[in-house]
Structures are given as structure tokens and as C-alpha cells.
């Protein structure tokens, strides 16, 4: 990294060397024919929120609409209603900051959508997701609305937005729709908390919450002139003694012909409605329809200034739901109940759609969709639903949570209806005229932990073979005969499918035959535990559909859990959480197995190795050995532990040494109880790296980096006898500004054929002998931030390893071959003959990520939090599964597919060659025969 002053010459040299090193390293890459077949990807948004999901036409001149949503994971995106594919997406909060509220608005006939989250109001091009403008407010946003002024002259330009922010100086700002500049700003005086904005065609209303001495909430309305931003009026609503919390405010309407505020008392016995702009409050009794208490009340109102001022109130109890439709008389501001929709069992979801001035309400229940007009209760369309077409637990009733619809009405009937529904299983489905069109598994966007499990049928064979291996020969023989007899029952079906299999075997390639049998271990079940308390299983062999999806924890809203997943017994997945007992599930069908497991001890846990259990306690890392405290690592004053990565529990190593080019051996320091610990000292801007022996607690390697930007993720990994970590540093004498990747390898000794202190001992204990490894480290400058590191795993560890790095800025995962970052690459000299034989190339300070190393190639994987790897049954292949927001999985062969015929093996070509040879033999045979006979005659 120490460059000479002759900049350009050096640049050229280093670039050339980097390029050269890339060519010399065996090109591990994504093959064009495997790219979209072997890997799979769900581009997810997360659970859509009801108030921020809608249909909107991105191009005002065209009738084609897209579905827009701002999800609970703060991902903003547009989905094509035809096939459910993602058109564009922007992650508005990448670092996991959970915002209380977020807003997404689209003005009628506008080509932008406006989002509001945290301190940022931003306008996005609706068609392609490009940024139009952005504005940050001083305080956190409380509401964003689009100003639909109907002052007779409908302007063609962009409609302005209004934003309400709280904080020290609560303000209302009118934002120019074209440029994002603030047109005017109104500072709200007083200590009342801003709550929401409401806009009619002539006025803007800021609704504030005033806390009375008795603890009740009073609504204060400030009326503003939309043109000047001056206060026109201000009044308080007499809502005392009723509103105790904001949760009872059902709705504050906006952008309708007559916006209104609705609230209930805490027992849901009366509904109070106020038309904004008037002071009168009308109350309606809520009739109890069944024994269960009302869980929530929702108001569904049209979102257009030109629509009829009708609204629907939806009442939900645990067992049933019903709704009332109200009309607002625009002349006198009176609210009248028009009609009721009858009680139906289960949950219901209502959505509002408009067509010109007409308003339609669509009701989705467990088994049907109905559409009514807001004017009368006559059903305009009814479609029965057999099933939503999603995987769910056995006996689980799939319920709609919320819906958004687009209706087209011809005369008195609905000619077509498209409805997107978020289901209780977490799926987001699209129904057209009651038929399922697509299904987006959005619950996977909140995956917290995953595990791989063998399918139960494959697992039973393994178990039976184990039984035979561990019993006496006679019993084993009887067992085997019985097993073979039972296998005979499958013979007829095998014979039937034989011709088909033969044809398939001739035409396809061997890697394609995943459906028939899983000899290679590619068809593993991937079980994901989501934040919503569900277990979702995918098949790595055919990942297009969800295998099963069961609810494992009934969580209250706001309650979080920290599940642990494991598959200790093949074919069985075990889920446990910190508080509760573990439950086992069949990996193939998700059926719970009636087995209870011991409770996991309390306290936050760091992934543990086989013997030693770690807990974090007051910033101190404490290790216990057989449940007795062994040692504690207390960081220095001002130092905090960022991450601790022990060597994986299941980390097979094929060779205890590295064979050099001259056939001598460099012995690896292989200790299953070592861990990499990264700490940060914020005041100094330094990062410390330690390699600990987890048995004795001794530090066997340490390093310190100064000028580190500790706000950027530091990723670390430990495997075999090496470790790697990445960080971002400020420019200094030692290093240039940018991102660094450090790779260190531990050896017993640096002298070949010498085991150093260990000598010829076969056993050694980390407790008794203090052996320190010899470490070789090398730093590479990398082009971008790595947020997470992982390593490929194969069955026996013979295959070379590949370092997997998650690149949040490139939205990808890069697979770095270990040879490219080997710390033994010779520095400042060319490799010798022996080193070349080992595959070592000259060290270069810069490690560029070759686009061919990107496992995701052209797919964009957003928000990856972790990468899970699992060995396949064949040695060459490792299964990779990345989760976070998106789900991505692929198969990797770091040393190429040496034990399987890959796509490059052309069966047809081989058969053609054999056939050609056979034909040639038949043609040539008579010729040769004739010639031999001729020769006989000639010579005798």
C-alpha cells in the first residue's frame, strides 16, 4: 500500500498486477447456463402496511396501474399486478432503525409517489423509482399529505405536498411538488403533540393532541390557508372524558370532499364522528353482535376530493366482523348511517375503490369477495373463494388481514376486480375475480434464523442404516431383509416410472434430476423462523413454492422473540426460544412431534461451540465450561465488544497441513476451540481483533487498527485455521482511506515439516500447554463495505473454501476464492516455482471484486443480514442461503464440480459420439473383412 510518488506509473502497475492476479486465480464464476436455474431469489418488500398500499397509475395517460407499498420493513416498492414481479424498490432504512410511522401518498393523475419516513419526505418517480426530490424536516414526521386543491383550475403540474413534523418546533410545511422546495412553513405554538394532517379542497387542518390534567386527550384543530400558510381558525373538540389514548382515534380522514375524525371510547360502545371544519360531534351506538368484545374499529374512506363523501366503519371481534356505511351530507355536515353489512364469521378485510365520483367497498372474508356500492347495499359482484392457495398449518384457518382493490364497473355490475390481500400466513396474494394470480411470500422478509434439514424420507434411510450398523450381525441381517421386503412394495411404481426416467436420463443432464431422487443432497429443507412467530419451510431443490408454513408462537403486537433453530436429528427441526420450551417439527410436512425439550437458559447468547457456552454480561464476555464459569473477557475501559465468531461447530478439515510445492508440509494450527473477537474503542477510533482460545481464555493473537470508522459494519469470520475481517478506515500513514479486508492464517510453525512446540505429541490440551500459533496476516484494500462474512462448507472439508462477503452497496454477495486472499502470497517478489505450483500469485494491495465472483450476478439482493451455508451430500458442493429482506439461495462448487457431471457434460453429444462410432464400425467392418479376404487370396 506504500506507493511511490510517481503516481501514475504505479497506478498502472498495480492495476495490471491486480488484473494479472485475477487471471491467475482459477476463475470461479457463475456460468451463463447455470445463472438463472441453479440460484433462486425472492425480491421481497416485507409485510405491506394497509394505509401505505394502493393501486396507482404511474403514467397518467395510461390506464395500467401498479401496486405501491411501503412495508413494515421500510421498503418502498412497486409491484406489477399481472405477475407479482417487483418493478422497482427503494430501501428507506437500511440500518434496521424502526420508525413508528411511515407514509406513502400518490396524488390523482400524478407520476410521482411521495414517501415520508423519519425526517425525510421524498418524491419518487412512480414508473421507475428514481428520486425526484427529497427534503428533510427538523423534527420527526407525523403526517404527509398531498394537496388536492380544486379551485376550479386544475393545474397540470405536480401537486404540492404538506408535511407535519413534531419535535422541538412542530411545523406544517407546504412543499412544492416539482422541486421539493418549501413554499411556506407554519410553526405550531404550544406544547400540544402534532397528530395528523387533513386537507379538504379549500383548507388544511392540523390536528393536535392536547393532554388534559385528568389524563384525557383533547383534539385541537388548527385551520390553515393552503395558499399563504396563515392560520385561519383554531378550535378544540369536546372529546373530554372519552379519549384516553390515541389508540381510540379510529381515523382522521384526509383528501376527501369532507374529511372527518372518528373515535370511540375505550370499551367500543359508541362511535363519535366529527366532520373536520365543524364543531359538532355526532355519536352512534355500536351494537354488540356477538359475545366476544370488539377488538378494533377501522374506518375506510375514499381518498379523493371528487369522490362521494361516504365512509365505512368496520368492526372486528375475535369471532366475527360486520360493517356500517355512513354518508356525510355536505350541505349541513350531518352524518347519517346509510346501511349495514351483515355479520360474517372470521376476520374480514375491507377496501375502498373509486370510479369517477362513485365509491365501492370490497369485502374479503375467508370464503368470498363481495363488492357493494357506497350508495346502496345491493351486491354488485360476488366471487366465492375455495382457498387462497397458500401453505398453512394443518387445521389453520387462513384469514385476510387487509386488502386493496381495483374495480372496473360496467353498468350495475363489477366486470373485473383485482384485489391484493395480506393473509394471516404472511403471504401477499393477488386475486383477479376471485382466482389466485400470484403469491408473494412476504413473511420471509422478516426471517430471523434459518436451518437446513434433511427431508424426513431421506432421514429415515440414514437412521435405518445406523440401526443396522449398531446391532449384532444376525439382527442386522433380519432388519435388512425386512427393509428390502418393504422396499419391494415400491417396485411396481418404480417399474412404471422407469421408461420415463430413462428418457429423462438420456435427454437431461445429471444435475437436473432433482425430482426423482436426491442422491446429491441438494433437496434439503430450509426452515426459516420469522419475526411474526411462524416457521416457513422451503425446498432448496425446488424453491419456487413454500413447502409448509406453520404458526409456532402467538405473539402479541410489539412482542419480540429470539428463536433458535436447529436440526440435531436428521428430518427433525427443533425450534426453541429463550423463554419457552423447544418444539420439534417434521422437516418434510411441518407436523409437530409431541416432544418437549429442556428450556434454554436465560440471558443473551452468543453462538456457542461444542464445549464452551458464552454469555454477554455487562459488556463482559463470560464463558462457562460444563456449566461452571471458566473465564471472562473484560474489555479495557471504553472498549466495547462488537462481535465474537467462534470456529463453526461442524467444521471438518481434510488435511492437517498445507502441502507446499516441494512436497513439504506446513502444519495448520487446528484447534476446535478458538474464536475471533472484535472490539471497538470509540474514543480512539480503534478496532481491536483478538483470537482467543475458548478453553483457557488465552489470547493467542491480537491486532489493532487505528482510524477505523466504527459506524460502518465490521464483518468477521473464523474457519479452519484462518480468520478474516473487514473494516473501513480513515487515511493514515499506514493505509489509504477506504475499506480493508484482513485475512490471517494460523500455523503450528512457519518452518515446513516442523510442528514446533507440539512436536510429535498426539494429544494436547489448551489448558495445560500454552502453545501460541504463528500467524500470517495480509491486508487487502477492497472496493466497498462488507456487512457480513460467511464461508462455504462441504461435507468433508476437502474442497477448498470460498469466502462469502455480503456487499450492501452493490446489493450482492461475492464469493472470494481463498487463493485470492491467501496470506502466503509473496510480497514484493514474484512467486518461486514451488509457490507457483501451489497456486500462489504475487501479493497486490488491491483486491478488486471481479463481477464474475458475484453469486447473485444480475439479481439484486437487498438487505441481506446473514448468509447460511450447509454441505450437500456430495463433497464438491455447498448450499448457500442468504436472508434478511430478500431471500437468495444457490449451490456453489468452490473447486468445480469434480464429483458430479455438470451442465458442461453434454449427454446428447456423448450419445451421438457413441452412435457415430457404432455406425462407423458397421460400415468399416465389411470393408476390412473384404480386404483381409483379398489379402489371403493375393499372398497364397
Amino acid at each position: 500500500m506504500r506507493a511511490s510518488n510517481r503516481a501514475n506509473a504505479h497506478i498502472m502497475l498495480s492495476t495490471l498486477l491486480t488484473a494479472a492476479s485475477l487471471f491467475l486465480v482459477p476463475a470461479l464464476a457463475v456460468f451463463a447456463d447455470e445463472a438463472w436455474n441453479v440460484d433462486y431469489h425472492f425480491a421481497l418488500l416485507g409485510a405491506p402496511k394497509e394505509e401505505t398500499s394502493f393501486f396507482h397509475q404511474p403514467n397518467p395517460s395510461s390506464r395500467a396501474s401498479l401496486i405501491y407499498t411501503l412495508s413494515e420493513q421500510h421498503a418502498l416498492g412497486a409491484v406489477n399486478p399481472r405477475d407479482g414481479s417487483l418493478v422497482w424498490r427503494q430501501l428507506l432504512s437500511s440500518d434496521g432503525v424502526a420508525y413508528r410511522t411511515s407514509f406513502l401518498r400518490a396524488g390523482e393523475g400524478q407520476d410521482v409517489v411521495i414517501s415520508g419516513i423519519g425526517h425525510e419526505v421524498a418524491a419518487w418517480s412512480a414508473a421507475d423509482g428514481r428520486l425526484v426530490w427529497t427534503l428533510s424536516t427538523d423534527g420527526p414526521l407525523e403526517d404527509v399529505e398531498i394537496l388536492e386543491l380544486s379551485d376550479g383550475k386544475e393545474t397540470a403540474g405536480a401537486k404540492d405536498a404538506v408535511a407535519l413534523s413534531s419535535g422541538a418546533n412542530p411545523t406544517v410545511q407546504r412543499i412544492d411538488g416539482a422541486s421539493g422546495a418549501v413554499k411556506w412553513q407554519f410553526n405550531i405554538d404550544g406544547s400540544d403533540a402534532p397528530y395528523q394532517l387533513s386537507a379538504s379542497s379549500t383548507q388544511i387542518f392540523a390536528i393536535l393532541l392536547h393532554k388534559t390534567i385528568l389524563g384525557y386527550v383533547k383534539l385541537r384543530v388548527v385551520v390553515l390557508d393552503p395558499v399563504t400558510g396563515h392560520k385561519v381558525d383554531e378550535y378544540s373538540l369536546n372529546s373530554e372524558n372519552e379519549l384516553s389514548t390515541t389508540e381510540n382515534i379510529v381515523s382522521v380522514g384526509a383528501n376527501s370532499a369532507s374529511p372527518m375524525i372518528a373515535w370511540t371510547d375505550s370499551l367500543y360502545t359508541t362511535l363519535k364522528v366529527n366532520v373536520v371544519g365543524t364543531k359538532s360531534i355526532q355519536s352512534f351506538d355500536i351494537a354488540a353482535h356477538d359475545d366476544s368484545p370488539i377488538e378494533h374499529v377501522k374506518v375506510h374512506a375514499p381518498y379523493h376530493v371528487n369522490s362521494l363523501s361516504h365512509f365505512l366503519v368496520h368492526y372486528q371481534t375475535a369471532a366475527s366482523h360486520w360493517a356500517d356505511v355512513f354518508h356525510i351530507n355536505l350541505k349541513n355536515g350531518k352524518v347519517e348511517k346509510a346501511y349495514s353489512l351483515p355479520k360474517l364469521a372470521g376476520r374480514g378485510a375491507f377496501s375502498t375503490s373509486t370510479s369517477d365520483a362513485n365509491v365501492y367497498f370490497t369485502r374479503v372474508t375467508r370464503d368470498e369477495i363481495t363488492t357493494v356500492s357506497s350508495a346502496s347495499h345491493g351486491v354488485l359482484g360476488r366471487w366465492s373463494l375455495n382457498t387462497f392457495g397458500v401453505a398453512a398449518g394443518i387445521g389453520e384457518q387462513v384469514e385476510p388481514i387487509h386488502a386493496a382493490s381495483e374495480v372496473s364497473v360496467k353498468g350495475d355490475t363489477v366486470s373485473a376486480i383485482r384485489t391484493t390481500i395480506l393473509l394471516s400466513t404472511g403471504d401477499w396474494v393477488m386475486l383477479r375475480d376471485g382466482k389466485g394470480i400470484w403469491n408473494r411470500p412476504e413473511m420471509l422478509a422478516s426471517t430471523m434464523v434459518v436451518t437446513f434439514a434433511l427431508p424426513a424420507d431421506a432421514a429415515t434411510l440414514v437412521q435405518q442404516l445406523e440401526v443396522e450398523a449398531h446391532s449384532n450381525p444376525v439382527a442386522a441381517y433380519i432388519h435388512r431383509v425386512q427393509r428390502h421386503l418393504s422396499d419391494l412394495q415400491r417396485l411396481p411404481s418404480i417399474i412404471v416410472s422407469l421408461p420415463q426416467q430413462i428418457v429423462k436420463g438420456f435427454l437431461g443432464t445429471s444435475a437436473d434430476d432433482l425430482t426423482a431422487s436426491d442422491t446429491f443432497g441438494f433437496r434439503q429443507i430450509i426452515v426459516c423462523a420469522t419475526r411474526g412467530g411462524r416457521l416457513v419451510a422451503l425446498d432448496a431443490g425446488s424453491p419456487d413454492k413454500i413447502v409448509w408454513n406453520v404458526n409456532v408462537a402467538d405473539l402479541q403486537p410489539g412482542q419480540s422473540r429470539e428463536p433458535f433453530l436447529a436440526s440435531r436429528i436428521a428430518g427433525v427441526v427443533e425450534v426453541s426460544s429463550r423463554a419457552g420450551a423447544g418444539i420439534q417439527y417434521n422437516a418434510t410436512n411441518g407436523q409437530p412431534l409431541a416432544e418437549r425439550l429442556p428450556v434454554v437458559p436465560e440471558g443473551p447468547q452468543v453462538p456457542s461451540s461444542q464445549v464452551v457456552l458464552y454469555t454477554m454480561h455487562d459488556g463482559t464476555l463470560e464463558a462457562s465450561f460444563n456449566r461452571t464459569p471458566a473465564w471472562a473477557f473484560t474489555p479495557m475501559h471504553g472498549e466495547r465488544i462488537i462481535d465474537m465468531v467462534p470456529r463453526p461447530v461442524n467444521d471438518p478439515v481434510a488435511s492437517i497441513g498445507k502441502v507446499l510445492g516441494d512436497r513439504r508440509v506446513l502444519y495448520k494450527y487446528l484447534d476446535s476451540n478458538i474464536a475471533l473477537l472484535v472490539t471497538a474503542q470509540d474514543s480512539m477510533g480503534t478496532a481491536n481483533v483478538y483470537v482467543l482460545s475458548t478453553v483457557s481464555g488465552a489470547i493467542i493473537y491480537s491486532n489493532v487498527h487505528t482510524g477505523v470508522d466504527l459506524t460502518i459494519p465490521i464483518a468477521s469470520i473464523m474457519s479452519e485455521n484462518w480468520f478474516a475481517y473487514s473494516f473501513t478506515n480513515e487515511a493514515s500513514d499506514e493505509a489509504s482511506k477506504g475499506h480493508q479486508l484482513v485475512v490471517g492464517e494460523l500455523f503450528e510453525s512457519l518452518v515446513p515439516d516442523d510442528r514446533g512446540m507440539m512436536g510429535a505429541t498426539t494429544n494436547f490440551s489448551g489448558m495445560q500447554t500454552a502453545t501460541e500459533p504463528f500467524a500470517l496476516t495480509q491486508t487487502y484494500q477492497i472496493p466497498e463495505v462488507i456487512s457480513k462474512l460467511a464461508v462455504t462448507r462441504t461435507r468433508q472439508g476437502i474442497t477448498s473454501r470460498q469466502l462469502l462477503a455480503v456487499l450492501p452497496d452493490s446489493n450482492g454477495i461475492v464469493g472470494i476464492p481463498y487463493g485470492a486472499v491467501d496470506p502466503r502470497r509473496p510480497v514484493n517478489r514474484d512467486p518461486t516455482k514451488d509457490e507457483q505450483a501451489e497456486g500462489l500469485v504475487r501479493y497486490t494491495a488491491v483486491l478488486e471484486f471481479d463481477p464474475k465472483w458475484f453469486l447473485n450476478h444480475q439479481r439484486e439482493i437487498v438487505g441481506v443480514k446473514n448468509v447460511f451455508t450447509s454441505p450437500a451430500l456430495i463433497e464438491s458442493t455447498s448450499l448457500v442461503f442468504a436472508y434478511g429482506l430478500d431471500i437468495f439461495g444457490t449451490r456453489l462448487s468452490p473447486s468445480f464440480s469434480f464429483d458430479i457431471l455438470g451442465k458442461d457434460f453434454n449427454k446428447l453429444q456423448m450419445l451421438a459420439t457413441v452412435a457415430a462410432l457404432a455406425v462407423a464400425t458397421f460400415i468399416v467392418a465389411p470393408l476390412v473383412m473384404r480386404k483381409q479376404v483379398d489379402q489371403r487370396w493375393r499372398f497364397l
Binding site: 500500500m1 506504500r2 503516481a7 497506478i11 498495480s14 492495476t15 476463475a27 464464476a29 457463475v30 456460468f31 451463463a32 445463472a35 422497482w88 424498490r89 427503494q90 428507506l92 432504512s93 437500511s94 425525510e120 418517480s125 421507475d128 423509482g129 428514481r130 428520486l131 425526484v132 426530490w133 427529497t134 428533510s136 470509540d682 474514543s683 480512539m684 477510533g685 487505528t706 482510524g707 477505523v708 466504527l710 459506524t711 460502518i712 473501513t728 480513515e730 487515511a731 493514515s732 500513514d733 489509504s736 482511506k737 477506504g738 472496493p783 452497496d809 452493490s810 446489493n811 494491495a845 488491491v846 463481477p851 464474475k852 458475484f854 450476478h857 444480475q858 458442461d904 453434454n906 453429444q909
Partner: protein, 295 residues
Amino acid sequence: MEADDADFSGRSPILRDPYYPSPNYTSSFSQAHGIACNTSEKKPRIAPTCYSPPDPAMYALGSFLILLPVTLAAHLTISIPASPPVLPNPASLPASTHATLLGPPGVYLDTPLTRRNTFEFSNLTVGSHLLQVYARDYAFSPYRVDVSLAATEDGDTERRGTARIEQELIQVWQTFRGNEWSNLGPKIVEGTDSVTVEIGPVGRKEFYIQRGGFNVLGMLKSPMILLGLFSVVLIFGMPYLMENMDPETKAEFEEMQKKSPLTGSQGAAAQIQNFDLASWMAGKSAETESSSGTQ
């Protein structure tokens, strides 16, 4: 503070800027000013998605931030022009295209591509930044963006903290990974307060490698296949050639073949072909065998 001082004595011209307070000044005021600096610091305005630093870290980074007076005017616009061979139409870039600006520790700005094919960074802090553009299909080279306070005419730097407003000097250089930071590349643009710079992609990313497929021409070019074909031609062609020869040449050719040491009944080739291993093992020569046969 020792480590901090060591960091800031680097060779970067920015860090040797006379506007920076001396290390002594820093250490004595770091606590109080660090906090003040934090509270007055506005959140980066342009970044809907950025690594917003956690509060304790920000607090602790006060010692860094004291060196970075917060400015509100510096504005950098990066525009992506149409660069025909590689990227003829920048409007085709996906919405995920974004640019990041890695500033002093704790400053990491991220802004998405706008509808005008630009990236807008406003309210840049004084310091040295690494600018990188990320697009799915295109590679961009890194740039260095330095924001510094322009020298005032009287050269009075001590009164910076008062109400005076200075202009920010923005300089953009191309930079190369692997070189020390003080090693500046070619300067792209320099300006005050608001600067626009055009950055085009350096190339298209090639994600895939094609497998070497079945290639008839390539196979025919291989020397082994050529040799094989030649011998096939000889085997099948020679008899026809022989038949079509006129009798004189034919006779001549046969004569030549008989004389040739390789061919003919006594030729080397014939001898090897008719080699009788059993008789050779028994120590019998062809002559003795034939003589014994006549007896």
C-alpha cells in the same frame, strides 16, 4: 488522543490545513466542543438511506468532529452523461443505482439516482471524502472529494467560529485504490459552494462465463483429428490411386515397394508383423524352422 494526533499528522493536504486547530487545542476542548458539535450537527440531509451512526458512537466521535466544522452550503451534484459505447442512455439505469460518499469517521452518505440522472449531495462536511457510484451493470471508478474552507482575503482564520460565513472549496479528483490517500490523481473539477461533475462508467460488468461448447470447426482444427483424417484418406484413397495408375508406373511402384526395406515379404515391417514370438522364445530362427519343416 495520541492515536488521533498520529492520524491527523498524515500527508493529506486537507489534514495539514492551517484551519485545523492544533492537537493541544483539540485535547483541551474535545469534551465540551465534542458535545456542542454533536448537537449542532444536522443529520445528513440528502440521505434517505444512510448508516446513521448510533448515538454512543457519535458522542465518542466528538473528538473527530471537532475538527470538522459543519457547513451547510457545500453542494455536490454528480451527473451521469450519455457515454455512447458503454452507456448510451443513462435513463436505462435501474432505480437501485446510488452513490456513496465516505467522509471522515461517522459520515457515510448515500443518495439514490434522481430522475435527471444525477446524484445530489448537499450540506457536505469539511473534510476528505471517497465518492463511489454503484450501478448494477456498470462499473465506475472511485473519486476523491475534498471540501475545505476557502481562504479569506485577510487570511484571518481565528475568527472562523464567529458569525462570518465563508465559501467552501470543493475539489474532485480521480483516485486509485491501493495508493496512499495523499497521492492525488488528475483533478476533475474545482469550485466553490456548488459543484457539478460528470462521471461516466468505465465499463460494463461481465457476470457470466460461457462454457466451451461443442465446436465443429475447432475440433477439425485440432492436430490429432487432422492426423486421423489424413490416415483415413490414405487408407481409402490409396487403393483407388493404385487402380487408376497406368500399368508402367504401377509396376515401377511395386518394384519400389519390394526394394523398400520397410515393405515386401522380407521388409522390416513384414518381419515385425509376422514376428513369431513362440519360435523366438524357443530359440528357433525362421530358417531352421523352414528347414525342419522340409525334413
